[in-house]
Symmetry: C2
Subunit: 244 residues, 2 copies
Amino acid sequence: LPVHANTPRSSLDLMPSIRAIPFGQSNDGAAVQVLHRRHRLQLATIATRLSLGRGTILYREDMPLTSIFIVGQGVVKAFRDLPSGKRRITAFLLPEDIFGLAENGRYVNTAQTVSQVTLYRISYQQFTESLQRDPDLEFQLLSKVTHALRESQRHAIVTGRRDAAGRLAMFLSMLETHVPQAQRDDSIVVPMSRTDIANYLGLSLEAVSRASRELARKGIVTFGGRHKMRITDRTRFERIVTAF
Amino acid sequence: LPVHANTPRSSLDLMPSIRAIPFGQSNDGAAVQVLHRRHRLQLATIATRLSLGRGTILYREDMPLTSIFIVGQGVVKAFRDLPSGKRRITAFLLPEDIFGLAENGRYVNTAQTVSQVTLYRISYQQFTESLQRDPDLEFQLLSKVTHALRESQRHAIVTGRRDAAGRLAMFLSMLETHVPQAQRDDSIVVPMSRTDIANYLGLSLEAVSRASRELARKGIVTFGGRHKMRITDRTRFERIVTAF
DNA sequence: CGTCATTTTGAGGTATTTCAACGAAGGTGG
DNA sequence: CCACCTTCGTTGAAATACCTCAAAATGACG
């Protein structure tokens, strides 16, 4: 499945900064902030760059932990499939996020690319060795995991809302803040499918579809295709996001 | 409000191990595992021991970060009050958990004691200094925050269930695993109120009450007062916990 | 042993889930 | 470049489960 898998490299330009690092004996998640230049350089020397197509599985739940990953471009989803057949996406990993959360040496989620993605893969062993050699790097990682924890709590609060439209609005608001927007206009890129959004928000696909239509019908947002949207009534949009 | 506030101490016996440490520029949560003996000793020298009654507010959302806390005995809840008036408990902090999650120098949740509690308070500044001096301690903390992240994801999955009885069963199951059980019999201590449980599970108080009654009526559990319960049909209990 | 807070119970309202089927979009191969 | 096929998304209607409101009952505390 890996399309490209180059050997370790040292080009700083190609090694992205890190936003989040859930890892180690347990965990996954999305984190934040940027590593210092020298940390990036250090990690670049032990990272393998990957370019992967949409839908590629990086690892599955319960598989032995072998590597952690850093997102360069694109979006990855981390999810768990429940006995009922339902799927719960625990986090979307965006550029600069680091992921590969594990527990007792096994990944706790399944990771799959949502779009064409550029990734940096680092063997877990080498990663931990780097951490032990560099306390500063470790502190950066700690900050990132902490941030991921905050994000996870936020996620729990969003899914606690009763109204589908409100949950969707909060999700779109989060996209606007966190997803790199290449656009010059004020449109927001929605890289994931409606199904993915439903699995993230804890709603049925139909509920997400209806909520989208509802926001559009009320003139609050406009969709330009399924992966691009624009907020046309910021006031009412914020009111919905906040009103809970 | 603090009932007792002794000066810093160095008694290792009285300084509990740490289970979770969400802290720093952002974050809160519950974590896991135990610090090494010498770490506990080190923290004990800078910690202040507190003995607090039920319902004591330790800090409020948006207040400036001044200290982090470690639970010795008892239970603390971390929550956010939403504009609608609803309250969402993001985590229960149990013995050995460390908490005081903040973001941009301000606590992200409000922390309040659920029962009579013994706490260790450490000034944030001294805490970070200890971390910088001791990379091992920092690594332990990283492990704990990572664990807290896993717990938060688990919480999100629990609240994603549709059925109240199932959510309650998962909650009770979690209590059985994590809450110190002084009892010699197989009964489970439920330190928090039904209202707290409702706020944690994202249900109404009435729904929790009805779910409790439902489990009891079916003979799956038995309640001995509101704060003690016993699982009388382990098979069906596990079936409910797992069936989702 | 009385008061206050918490919990239980009942009845009705509402939003989402389900089930089913149609429609649109994206990808592949001829 | 078009047709076909598969996946994804939209729509409609009924069922379910929780929420809300209101009131009684239970338990905690002093």
